[in-house]
Symmetry: C2
């Protein structure tokens, strides 16, 4: 069993060694090259993804044809198009690797079998979703509170390593800037 | 046991009649008058709330001192300050009744006992949070896609009864308008 996921699970619930050994049967390891697509808008979505190493970009195509980044997922985060997964509709989101990335894939089918064998994992996923929803409540507060420029400065302050790691055009897309405008803000705040 | 919550639970999981009878022991019914506060920013948050009848406003005080509405909860929705609940920190959100409202309160203590007695309820809450997080992913897409004015028009089209029900100054706050600007948009789109 992958140790990153094992450590993550231990933060929320208790499983014995035998259970951890069997966990590996339910997850599929997938390696992505930089810019490789994991989920495409318009396709069926039956899987969720745990980032072991690397970074994923979650985005969609706006009506004007441009790509809009709505989120990133780095180590120890779960992601997917959860509306498509939950309601069995086609994905409206695309998920791609920002850099070389290793994920563990849990299909809806495997998840169902996993819950039947280890009901403790229901608790783990309840807490994962509760935490993700809590974070999105906070994010919505930030979107109301700060201007886009202040959001960028907050982001740099809170996640300096992340700002170094992600290409600037993706960070600009996430913050709703043009890359040119982001470049201007950076210059202004460096000088 | 309250029939609204019972019907809601049935949409996600199966419980027998005996379990439904016992469920009532874990929830506390609370009636709120219009504008009455259910949770105050700065207080401990140990509870989550299911709206049986009525409407709740979820808001916080911005740095400039104004009240910012970040969400509403109507019938069949669960709400709380989930970050405070999850991380045992003080609430940064305030929850108030928009109109006369009936809620069922589930304390963290009762939830723990409930899961011990009926592990099926872990599945119910996992699905509730998964759905809430999925909806917030979609909401973030809408915030990127539409101007504030278009968001209002979409809102009127998708939730006409809700727009009639909620005071206009709260709807304006939710959409990030001043009440005066909302009034202008309404006039423009009626004429």
């Amino acid at each position: 069993m992958n140790t990153s996921l094992q450590d993550h699970i231990k933060r929320f619930i208790s499983l014995d060694d035998n259970q951890f050994d069997r966990l590996g049967d339910y997850f599929e390891r997938r390696m992505l090259e930089k810019k490789q697509t994991l989920l495409s808008e318009g396709n069926a979505c039956h899987e969720m993804f745990f980032v072991v190493k690397g970074c994923l970009q979650i985005c969609y195509i706006k009506k004007n044809g441009t790509e809009q980044t709505i989120d990133f997922a780095i180590e120890n985060w779960w992601t997917s198009d959860f509306m498509a997964l939950h309601s069995h509709t086609l994905a409206t989101l695309t998920i791609k690797a920002v850099e070389k990335t290793e994920v563990l894939v849990l299909s809806a089918f495997s998840q169902k079998r996993l819950f039947a064998e280890m009901p403790e994992m229901e608790t783990y996923f309840r807490l994962i979703f509760q935490r993700a929803y809590a974070a999105s409540q906070r994010r919505i507060c930030l979107l109301y509170e700060f201007s886009r420029e202040d959001l960028y400065l907050q982001f740099c302050k809170n996640f300096p390593a992340f700002v170094q790691r992600v290409p600037q055009y993706l960070l600009a897309s996430f913050l709703g800037f043009t890359p040119e405008y982001l470049s201007e803000i950076r210059k202004k705040n460096i000088s």
